[in-house]
Symmetry: C2
Subunit: 343 residues, 2 copies
């Protein structure tokens, strides 16, 4: 995707090194981080220089390939890469796949790791082509958090249909939820859209109902972290609120995700445990001061406690449809396809 | 109300000077600002050292009384005080009432200004007594923005029933919406509750649906900036979103406001023009750095625009009831009482 006048993937392998857009510097600086060996790649995953399920999966696969290339003990590398992030399903999947591939040859490990990244990119592209059909010329779309190409290897999930519509000449306008407390919308989604030169406005999370009630939103599209077998979707905190408000005003609400996000082993959303994250994410904010230096400041009443649930679960009944790399489906389609393994 | 071990009003007149809690320093520092003449009081209103409809009204009345005490030309003072904030109904009401009172005597102006402040405080106290009946021991209450005593002379509107319940020994827990972009919840409401030693947690605005859906909220109470004759209520952006979510989950949603907030001349919410405020409020945040200095930082993607509507309108149909200084009413009661002038 575009960054200024160039094109980038979020993460890629070149020779023995993994390169990635350093997401810890975004949106205030654009930099490429080079990880010369698998341990550096592990520490980049841990430090969230790379984030988002798809991008983390690719990083883990590349790290395992780097370990093989360096002749490092593969079981030890497997174990260490797995432990970089505790709950990332894509990470486990990728590292194990490359580990097994490397049992045949180092070259095979590299090829399989590359294939995982390519597949992730391709899934994003196909989500874009499927979802583009939902977008009319002139549509105003609301999105929450960052389900763009920075969370994947390329294209993204929720933003991919928007990029595709824009490429086909449709005029679109994106309302970008700030997405407190970590503000991935205001920082990453806005940065992506600016670089792709798509009209957008950052809005406080509080403004969703105002916009929807005043007929300023035609469509809501978000990503998902995990989708249960019945279609219930876990995503960034606040997604549920937008889904309820969209239903209240009769506005279509879509979830965009590749097949790998659907979890046949989770019957419904009530089985998904919601992570409670550190309250400092609510109490402190970072950004650039007038001299351009990054500062972290306290933004809430000192002495008060905060509560910081990271995700919520939107019930399938509130989801108009699912935009996947295999097409657009209803929750009933999803149930059938998951059972037959065709998602 | 309590600040540490002392008791304060938000604003008061002593001799020729107006004293006020400097809300520009809160929650990071507690300071009393002294305005020795009416021009200093005007500039404190303009600089938002004092904010909130009720507190601004009291400030404007005191400023007019100060102008009389100083022997200043009253028409000129009236005009200048009126122009400090363009849309504050309580301000116009108070300054004109004191202006007319001063035509009789300076002493009369001072007494009437004092009476306006006392009435505002008394309305808050009565809202507390009426609303306290809605709160059961152990209730968890969600509130948005700051409709506490800092927005009035004392007691507040939405928080007054909570203070009253606490005083009567009921255990309450308050979820405080951060209320981006200006974060009055995380800063002012949390500060008030901490000083009154009431259990509370600051939450990102995004967490409302998660909490309500998980049966962690028994009651929602917010204030209002203006309530139309049909019961539609304009309040801080995001209030509408909470009202929709509360309705979705069957949770009671109350608006607390004194009679002066109800506007018989506005037939419905659709006549209320929503102010769009400066996008810098979304793009920048201020707070204290680790050395305790106030810093302002950019928190969104540089180069992106933001959209910042200040208020939204919650339709009467979503409001369970109105907690007023005359009792708790339905929207139908409100219509009847407004017509008969008994609100």
């Amino acid at each position: 995707m575009r960054v200024g006048d160039s094109h980038y993937r979020t993460i890629w392998l070149e020779g023995n090194s993994v390169y990635m857009i350093d997401q810890n510097q975004l949106p205030f600086a654009f930099g490429i981080k080079k990880c010369e060996d698998w341990l550096e790649t592990c520490s980049a995953i841990r430090s969230m220089n790379v984030r988002g399920a798809g991008a983390i999966g690719a990083a883990a696969g590349f790290a395992m390939a780097q370990a093989y290339m360096a002749g490092f003990h593969p079981e030890e590398a497997l174990h260490k890469i797995r432990s970089t992030r505790p709950t990332a399903r894509d990470l486990f999947y990728a590292v194990e796949k490359v580990y097994h591939a490397g049992q045949i040859s180092v070259n095979n490990a590299v090829n399989v790791a590359q294939g995982i990244a390519d597949e992730n990119s391709e899934a994003g592209r196909k989500i874009g082509i499927a979802g583009e059909n939902l977008i009319k010329d002139g549509d105003r779309i609301l999105t929450h958090c960052n389900a763009g190409w920075l969370a994947f290897v390329d294209y993204g999930s929720a933003l991919s249909p928007i990029y595709q519509a824009h490429r086909e000449g449709k005029e679109v306008m994106v309302y970008v939820d700030e997405t407190r407390p970590r503000s991935q919308g205001a920082r990453l989604t806005a940065w992506e859209l600016m670089n792709e030169q798509i009209a957008h406005k950052i809005i406080p999370d509080n403004a969703g109902a105002y916009l929807m009630g005043n007929k300023k939103v035609d469509l809501v599209i978000t990503g998902a972290d995990r989708i249960a077998a019945n279609g219930d979707a876990a995503n960034k905190i606040g997604t549920l609120e937008k889904a309820i408000v969209a239903r209240f005003y009769g506005i279509p609400f879509y979830i965009a995700a590749p097949g790998s996000t659907f979890d046949v082993n989770t019957p419904s959303g009530s089985e998904i445990v919601i992570e409670e994250r550190n309250q400092d994410e609510v109490n402190y904010q970072s950004g650039t001061d007038p001299t351009g230096n990054i500062q972290t400041i306290r933004v809430t009443n000192p002495g008060s406690q905060a509560f910081n649930p990271a995700f919520d679960v939107t019930p399938a009944a509130l989801i108009t449809g699912y935009i996947t790399d295999k097409g657009i489906f209803s929750s009933q389609d999803i149930r059938i396809r998951l059972q037959s393994g065709s998602l």
